[in-house]
Amino acid sequence: MSLGYSIKEGFAGFGRTKLASATSTFSLFIAVLLAGFLTRGGYALYSLAVDLTDEVQMEIFFAPISDDRIQEFGDYIEEQPWVESIMFTSKETASERFRAEFGDGFGSEALAELDFLPASYTVTMTPETPIEEIQQQVERLEEFQEVDDIAFNAALYQQLRSRVDQSIWVGISVASVILIASIWLVFNTIRLTIYAKRDTIKAMKLVGATNAFIRRPFVIEGVLQGWIGSLLAFGVLDALFRWAVPLAIPQMGIVPWPLGAWYYLALSMFVLGTLIGLLGSTIASHRFIRLA
């Protein structure tokens, strides 16, 4: 059976039921636009939160022990699975920093000579590690004789982490609702289209058309709605972040594209629109052409 015919009919169907097609394309456009907006905005917020989380570090200060022992201890910490990287600050560096910050006055030199600034490691944690484990590790490390003190802002870290987790869940939930709603809208439009064309479908069945043959133009119509809806959505999304967002919130500037390039999001939106159109029209045509 000719695919050319199905494609032509699919396009013609788009024109024959203009209002229903426009409604469906519009709802699809809104769904894909919202999903795109959430992804781009959400991604920006997410990377911001992750950056902030990365900045919450742990500092391990050492008791006065030999450099070799500190070196050994550093190797040990670096091997831990919850550690991403460590950075060493020697007593000398610490003193220099102190001096640079407070100047030579106020007897600071004398204080530095007193050797009160210990050597330390600054530890960046792997983001997957649960907060409870980090706290356990802090307690464990504090037991070591070599360790004088550990500085770690657990409360801040925990808050940032739970914010990131929350926003991921909110994003996924909102996106799922939108996705289901838009599939339902396409499903209903195609159902209406099938209802509007029931005479045509009846006549097709009468002359021996198979259900698969009758279905194809409707599915193509749905995919077409997906394409048009998602291309429009991408255009509007780009315009929104280019003009509207900087105008409304000047301090935000241009929000970056997820993964650093426009085409990842563009492709995802296009695929999403196509899938919504395909799914909605396939389900509707399977269910309703049999009954027509």
């Binding site: 059976m1 000719s2 015919y5 024959r16 005479d199 045509t200 009846k202 006549a203 097709m204 069945k205 009468l206 002359v207 021996g208 058309a209 198979t210 259900n211 043959f213």
Partner: protein, 232 residues
């Protein structure tokens, strides 16, 4: 002789309401048969049994000797390609022109475009509407619309034509044209025709076999009741 259309002790009820009771009939290749009977007696239902729009409650419905009532739904399209069906209300597609109304019946069966052009031209010439190829079907007269419907029914070269009151909406002049056309198709192409009608004057002018449906039973009105009894 092989029977083309056959009912073998067929009963049919809709939601428990009986319409046909133990009906039997058999048409041979090249028959032209009228199906008569009052409104609501079940004439359209008999045609529906043959194009598998309805299934019998009991008995066998046969097309070319094969029972069709138990065929899987996905095989129904292939049954319908062996039959042409026309109705009182034509059932043409109003969003397409004359050519497309016939061509889509060929597209459905996967006929190549080059063949479609030739075939539609041939069918339009057959029904005498070659010059109306590009017309909108809505501007055609009733008689012309029915001729297009007949052309569409014949598109896939079926050997059976089922006609449900094809002249029911037409004036006497147009009815005559349709009857001439149906008889021509029956004679020249040896298409077996089963035609439902109310119009006894047409039956007189164009004689053919007759079947009459009354109170759920089907009988041949040319046979007297006593003959019927003795044949049982």
């Amino acid at each position: 002789m092989n029977s083309v259309l056959e009912l073998d002790h067929v009963s049919l009820s809709y939601q428990g309401k009986p319409v046909l009771a133990e009906c039997s009939m058999s048409l041979q290749e090249g028959d032209f048969c009228y199906l008569l009977g009052p409104t609501g007696s079940g004439k359209s239902s008999i045609l529906k049994l043959f194009y598998r729009e309805t299934k019998p409650t009991k008995g066998d419905v046969k097309l070319h000797g094969e029972s069709i009532q138990n065929l899987a739904d996905r095989k129904i399209p292939f049954i319908r390609r062996q039959l042409g069906v026309v109705f009182q209300d034509f059932q043409l597609l109003h969003d397409r022109n004359v050519f497309e109304n016939i061509a889509f019946a060929l597209r459905v069966t996967g006929t190549p475009s080059s063949t479609i052009d030739q075939r539609v031209k041939h069918l339009l010439d057959l029904v005498g509407l070659g010059h109306k190829k590009k017309e909108d079907v809505r501007v055609l007269s009733g008689g012309e619309q029915q001729r297009i419907a007949i052309a569409r029914a014949l598109a896939n070269d079926p050997d059976v034509l089922l006609a449900d009151e094809p002249t029911g909406n037409l004036d006497p002049g147009a009815s005559t044209v349709i009857m001439e056309l149906l008889h021509q198709i029956n004679k020249e192409q040896n298409v077996t025709i089963l035609m439902v009608t109310h119009d006894h004057s047409l039956v007189k002018r164009y004689p053919g076999k007759r079947l009459e449906l009354k109170d759920g039973t089907l009988y041949d009105p040319s046979v007297t009741p006593t003959q019927r009894l003795s044949s049982i």
